[in-house]
Symmetry: C2
Subunit: 409 residues, 2 copies
């Protein structure tokens, strides 16, 4: 029969790196395109101990769970955030999801009608764009600099489009890696409050900062989340989303949304009907591990930070090669990505084709822009998933590919 898809499907199907991203482990192919963490530091043994504890004593772990998520895990987050993130939330402000994307998707599904305007950073993550396209939102990009979103442009666009939502990632924005300044955080929050624009703050990368704390002032004090600035999470202006996929393991499919209890309630109701629960077993495994004596959460994150910092340094070492002479980038101080402006005249799609033929890939910039006519000359490189040796080889192949174009001109 002839299939008659919904009107937004055209957008969804137009993602060029789809097939590359989904098969990064095929043979010797090295993907620098993904949003994956390293597999080398997964806490396999601790997870196995947790699985033994949970599966041999708790049949409930295999039953449906609560819609809102496993209560002890929500309480763990509540305490962790209170102690380390300047967030002081009630338990009914916390909803367990399958990840940060699932959290954003749920919010968009209950908050956005087709045609509603939503502001995003320009550029922004491919998944934010697709989540908004799936719901038929009108996406309005806002420019930023190395300090965060440009306040003046934000005001102009708010006054022009009357958006319902603003999507931001103040800690190591995907793809640019920008870390917003404290001043800019406060400014954006105040503007959104004044104009009644609700903020969705993705903090998926917030634990992955590379700089060690100075004079005992922890990262989250120097760079408080918008949610923390919003009366420690009680101001009602921000939905804070994130996940354990980048810090513990994506295979657990466990993340969270935290915000105004009314919003969390509605998101929970929607969640109940469209997928009933996030994985109950995994939430219990995760909680069991987080609270066991064989695993130290903060030590684990510190280990990840050091490894990723090293991998980024390796990557930038290779960018010193002649092939990249005319490329530009800002060195991020955390996160998972390096955003590189290609030498003038070099188009990312052509470079990608050539790179794939050599055995490596990256994310083309166009995927990160709402406007499909932008981003032809930028690429996003992931430095967390490839092992150090793979990273070196991948960057070597990519440099070869760049050389083939730049040597000609």
């Amino acid at each position: 029969m002839k299939y008659s898809f919904a009107s937004h499907v055209e957008w969804i199907m137009s993602s060029p790196s789809d097939n590359i991203s989904s098969n990064p482990q095929q043979g010797s192919f090295i993907s620098l395109a993904d949003e994956w963490p390293t597999s080398d530091i997964f806490p396999l043994t601790s997870m196995h101990t947790a699985a033994t504890d949970v599966l041999l004593s708790l049949p409930q772990a295999l039953q449906y769970g609560n819609i809102e998520g496993y209560m002890p895990l929500r309480e763990w987050l509540q305490l962790e955030w209170k102690q380390h993130k300047q967030l002081d939330l009630d338990i009914n402000q916390i909803l367990i999801t399958r990840g940060s994307e699932h959290a954003m998707d749920l919010l968009v599904r209950v908050y956005v009608d087709k045609g509603d305007a939503v502001l995003v950073e320009n550029p922004t993550s491919p998944s934010s764009l697709q989540i908004l396209r799936m719901q038929g939102a009108t996406i309005i990009p806002v420019e930023g600099d190395q300090e965060g979103l440009l306040a003046q442009q934000l005001v102009e666009l708010i006054e022009k489009h009357h958006p319902k939502l603003l999507f931001v990632t103040p800690n190591f924005t995907n793809p640019t890696g920008v870390l917003w300044s404290l001043e800019r955080r406060k400014q954006v929050l105040e503007l959104c409050r004044a104009y009644q624009v609700f903020i969705v703050e993705d903090d998926s990368y917030g634990d992955l900062y590379f700089e060690e704390s100075k004079e005992n002032e922890p990262f989250s004090r120097r760079y408080p989340s918008l949610s923390a600035l919003d009366d420690h999470g009680k101001g009602g202006q921000v939905l804070y989303v994130g996940s354990f996929s980048k810090t513990v393991a994506p295979g657990l499919s466990t993340g969270f949304a935290a915000g105004p209890s009314k919003l969390i309630e509605v998101m929970g109701a929607a969640k109940q009907w469209v997928d009933r629960q996030s994985c109950n077993l995994n939430q219990r495994l995760l909680y069991q591990m987080l609270t066991s004596t064989t695993f130290d959460w903060h030590e684990h994150i510190t280990l990840l930070r050091r490894e990723y910092s090293t991998r980024l340094r390796l990557m930038t070492e290779l960018l010193k090669r002649p092939a990249w002479r005319k490329a530009k980038y800002n060195l991020p101080s955390g996160g998972m990505f390096l955003w590189v402006q290609l030498p003038e005249g070099l188009r990312s799609e052509l470079l990608l084709k050539c790179s794939i033929s050599k055995g490596t890939s990256f994310c083309v910039g166009t995927e990160c822009y709402a406007d499909k006519n932008m981003g032809f000359d930028v690429i996003r490189l992931n430095f967390t998933h490839p092992r150090r040796d793979e990273l070196l080889l991948g960057m070597h192949l990519l440099s070869e590919a760049v050389n083939e174009f730049t040597a000609r001109s």
Copy 2:
């Protein structure tokens, strides 16, 4: 700030049994309202062995998985369906999801625009209705009898509304427990083919038949799925959805969609962006268990069937009490629910209030109708989740509640 929800949120929030369903294990409360399997027959030991095998040898199990699902699990389904379900599918026709609801939700999100007409059985499952409401579909209910949907009415409604989709559950419809006759299955499939209405077939309960096979003719030959009748799954007219939640364990959050490869491809693309993957770890655990020597899938299902058949018999024994003298029901030959027409004049909402005060609950009929003015005098009882003793006590309390009303009149 003032929150401005999407227009369909009102519908989503209007589910009365929400709070009851999500807390069925609180204290001594006995819920007959849920769609839960028994916790008594979860394969905990086999699952633990599988967890040991997977976690101690496969770091990939904790990484992101393929969008389409874990390939060996898809191959397991392919073979199982070929051998036991008269389905002969290509591997790219099979997509792993988080469950049957997730599969239906994905299809609806890529196929239905706001206002598009979708046919459902009347009554139908509360979650089908909510999934369609979330997408803003115009829901058109079609009446049925003990053989399945009424073909004549189906034709009339198709000609009047030009629907895009028909949602059906031929094996033990939720809530009525009806098992469609072979003749009706063929008739509905032919009509939908003639009018180009795509069918979504939920087979979540198809393995839970109580009658043992007669003269070596297995259940799936006597009652082939619409998908099997549609050229063994290759006719392109049907999306076949189901899950392991009712047969192995809901805590695994693993289900599937199978259908035309074009449709599966688009659903996969949507899945990639809104939640990237279904739980990778769980798919591997499940596969490991299904193929291990410590677990026999068909024996396990047989065990479930026998237990559920016994529990249904217990439930109907209690319905022979005087309180229920004027109640009516058809005895289902499988599934998880008994659909009971209350004695005349007794309204399910009032009965529910009284039942809750006594310590038990059920699903009110109104939740199963697209038209909110229907179903006031019917209730859905679940006989799979409460243990035998709980079932007896729950039915006893419920009978008391009925008595309080009927004794008066």
